[in-house]
Amino acid sequence: MANYFNTLPLREQLNQLGHAEFMDSAEFADGVNTLKGKKIVIVGCGAQGLNQGLNLRDSGLDVSYALRKEAIDQKRDSWKNATDNNFNVGTYEELIPNADLVINLTPDKQHTAVINAVQPLMKQGAALSYSHGFNIVEEGMQIRKDITVIMVAPKCPGSEVRAEYLRGFGVPTLIAVHPENDPEGKGWPYAKAYCVGTGGHRAGVLKSSFVAEVKSDLMGEQTILCGLLQTGSILSFDKMIEKGIDAGYASKLVQYGVEVITEALKHGGVSGMMDRLSNPAKIKAFQVSEELKDIMRPLFQKHQDDIMSGEFSKTMMEDWANGDANLLKWRAETGETAFEKTPAGDVKIGEQEYFDNYLLMVAFVRAGVELAFETMVEAGIKPESAYYESLHETPLIANTIARKKLFEMNRVISDTAEYGCYLFDQACKPLLTDFMKKVDTDLVGKNFNEGKDGSVDNVQLVQVNEILRTHPVEIVGTKLRKAMTAMKAIKTV
């Protein structure tokens, strides 16, 4: 199979990359009607599979689960998840031939095997849905021309998709139709109805493409979302230990700090986060993050280049073929870091203290969000897509670190994200060696404001605020957050 994106002429590459339109809620007025009475068969019953299925059924749709025969015979967790919630469960052979819509919610790595097994069984004119386009775009999977191929990708973990639905909301969702597979023109109505069934239409829907989703998703997860949070956390912890800060305090500040700091992003964007600092601290964080942006920009660009050229997916798939040798090695190494092995101390850290004593992370987050966003937009991805894959998801990933540090983050994210995260981390740490030598405890571990009188140069402050507030990620972020009239704070704490 050839990389689909690389088979396209440049003009078509740019066209598909530039697909991003925030949809008006009026577009969902028809509700789930298009899928009413149709047979929906979900393949895979993990967190996304189960929770999306529960939502679709609660929206009045006919949902059952196709599992591999071994999973059923051995009563594996996927089988228990489906049967404990009273879903009809059957083998591929039993259920796929009657399905009007097959929803593939298995892990990325299994997609090729799953599609090869499912596709021959699908009836003429059926539809197939993905929640991530890697298989189509990077692996170049060819789907039978009579089959409609769509994507519905909630931008939250499965448990959140369910929780928000039952609260009467939903989570922001990205939908797409594969241009090579829309023979009857029913792709968009199907994707929209499916999206309504999960509650996504209440929280903001981005009309995207398979290509835009994959290229932006890979970029976001490797750089700001996972890679930089990992690098920044480890470097911050090590610096505090080097400078004699109590290990338990350092561990707690790093583990929970990233969540508290990025929580501010969710409501007020980068400037909202920076506004949590005192004026002198804000100016310092601005200067530090400017320096970080200069240092890290080439690395961000390299990641984007490798993603666009297919070099990243090629390397990773070689590791798949090699039994995940590198992935497993790197995962083990992360488990051995001092930060990972030091339990958070039994100390109370107030909410504001996380900002005042962890200015370095504020600078890392600003640098990472803006760099990821800028690099994606330069590569032809629309600001709306770039926003979702950088700023929007950062608090969600930070939440996993708060739960159980980096090991938990890497367990929760996909293997693809994890692989890219390690690549970034390994390249980023050496880049920051000289920078970190200059960092002292006023940036991480102690209150930056201590011993300062709080005065700043007014003109400088005005300029810093101006630069922060007029960055394109702030402009599009303000627009998107406002457009999501229905979006309330998605709980991460």
């Binding site: 009413k36 929206s59 009045g60 009273n86 609260r167 309330k488």
Partner: protein, 514 residues
């Protein structure tokens, strides 16, 4: 030991050189206690001595600072002034003040608390929370307790069958019991319990009184915060808080009561009879629900016709909440059962929102998991959309209705306050307002008065009676006959998931027993 702004855990050891003897001596001495909450004075130079051998009940009006006082003693609230403990080192009981709040709290295995109230009905293989047994083992290990010592407490509170239940699966009454079990097992020298009887069934409650006497006999000093008249016999002192100061009274019957509420007439839009979709609102035919080997409901058949007012009763854990979750579209097992709601069979293409729009529901679980960022106004507005604290675009007419209802429940001054910061009684009224704002055809009120005192309960039930006089159908869950709306005309009793025929209400002929 004397301390100001106490550490989170009170001192382990008392002042052993104290000249005061055990009996009749000063056990806890509180002087010049001042406490503010959100800029308002709650406790104002309060003084109080608790002597050895005394067991207190603190009662009186709501919102006077009872909980704040309890938390201050337990070291969970910042205050100015002094609280001195003289723990008895001869006594083989933990030298600490232990506080049981009236709200239960637990986290999932990842330390997170992002639950939704229907979560316990959705099954996911990966366990999210500890089991009751694991939770107890954890508590026991932390406090050096022997498991053998807790078994009779579990038995007395009817809790021994819950050991393998996950915390998320417990009902509100069962959570209360778990808190009580831990406190009684710990048997600290000072035990403060906020509303100990909330949500308990009759038998557990009777046994709880004996358990209190038992630990008091062992040497525990009790402070109970309640307005209840049925108290353990060891209780011998009574007080309430007036203007931020402690006022000793003679008995529980002397507690001040909240001012009788000025009766207002029901807003006009609620005097209209709601549209009824089907004369048979609910029909369950031989419905069973089981989780693995655990049977929660067994062969339950039940029909509710339009206009009927049902009481649903049963001990904690008898399956009441599960039964109601089937009616409200909250339970995945409804899809496998023979259930008809408003004339439509479950799983025939209706969405849960089609069902919810016809029902006004309130339950302790919904209250507990309600959106912490919702104001009173948002809470009520969300009732139009059956969402938890969120709404799309409230129309002019709806805004008027919200205002009228705020006024009816005397909540206008609180409309922009966060729901969870109000006294419990007001929170319940706001949630009741959310429940009725859309004038639903079916009201499901699951222990709506849990945590309210008698006066508040009476007022609340009078409102329910008035609503029901205007054509609503009612399903009401309450443990105590004396605290029910008078409109009730049918009764369903559940025990261990099965329907029990109750002779006391003659018209319960529609209850089919198996």
């Amino acid at each position: 030991m004397v301390y100001k702004n106490p550490p989170l855990t009170p001192p382990k050891e008392g002042n052993s050189s104290s000249p005061l003897g055990r009996l009749g001596g000063d056990f806890v001495h509180i002087s010049h206690l001042n406490l503010q909450y959100a800029g308002q004075v709650v406790l104002d130079d309060l003084n109080w001595s608790i002597h050895n051998g005394e067991n207190w009940v603190i009662g009186g009006k709501s919102g006077t600072g009872k909980t704040s006082l309890a938390k201050a003693i337990a070291g969970q609230e910042k205050f100015a002034g002094e609280i001195t403990f003289h723990f008895n080192e001869q006594l083989n009981l933990p030298a600490r003040a232990y506080y049981v709040s009236n709200w239960y709290q637990f986290t999932n295995l990842e330390g997170d608390r992002n639950f939704y109230y229907q979560q316990r009905y959705n099954k996911f293989q990966k366990n999210d929370t500890l089991t009751v047994y694991a939770d107890l083992m954890h508590f026991g290990a932390k406090n050096n307790l022997q498991y053998a010592d807790v078994e009779h407490i579990l038995h007395a509170l009817g809790f021994e069958n819950c050991k393998d239940t996950q915390l998320i699966e417990l009902s509100s009454g069962e959570h209360k019991k778990l808190q009580l079990v831990q406190a009684l097992w710990l048997c600290p020298q000072l035990l403060i319990i906020d509303e100990p009887f909330t949500g308990l069934d009759k038998q557990s409650r009777a046994n709880l009184l004996d358990l209190f006497d038992e630990i008091s006999h062992k040497g525990t000093t009790l402070i109970l915060i309640t307005n209840d008249q049925h108290l353990p016999s060891c209780i011998n002192r009574f007080a309430e808080i007036e203007n931020g100061k402690l006022k000793v009274v003679q008995s529980a019957s002397d507690f001040s009561q909240d001012n009788a509420r000025e009766k207002k007439s029901l807003p006009y839009f609620l005097q209209r009879e709601p549209a009824v979709t089907s004369q048979t609102m609910v029909e369950l035919k031989n419905v069973s629900v089981r989780y693995g080997d655990k049977v929660v409901l067994k062969n339950v058949s039940w029909t509710v016709h339009a206009g009927e007012k049902w009481l649903l009763q049963g001990p904690n854990g008898s399956g009441k909440s599960t039964l109601l979750s089937l009616l409200n579209g909250d339970h995945p097992q409804a899809y496998a059962s023979d259930i008809w709601l408003f004339g439509t069979k479950r799983g025939s293409g209706e969405s849960i929102w089609d069902i919810k729009e016809k029902i006004g529901i309130i339950s302790p679980e919904m209250h507990w998991y309600f959106d912490k960022s919702a104001t009173v106004w948002h809470t009520i507005a969300s009732g139009f959309y059956d969402s938890i604290g969120w709404f799309i675009d409230v129309k002019y007419e709806e805004k008027k209705q919200i205002e009228q209802l705020l006024d009816f429940f005397d909540l206008l001054p609180n409309k922009d306050q966060l729901l969870h910061t109000l006294p419990l009684g007001k929170q319940r009224l706001a949630l009741l307002a959310r429940t009725i704002i859309k004038n639903p055809q079916l009201l499901i009120l699951d222990e709506p008065c849990q945590g309210l005192d008698i006066a508040q309960t009476t007022h609340f039930n009078a409102v329910v009676d008035e609503l029901c006089a205007h054509g609503k159908t009612l399903i009401y869950v309450g443990h105590y006959e004396s605290q029910l709306p008078s409109c009730i005309d049918h009764k369903l009793i559940l025990e261990r998931g099965e329907v029990i025929r109750d002779p006391s209400i003659a018209i319960s002929s529609k209850v089919i027993c198996k």
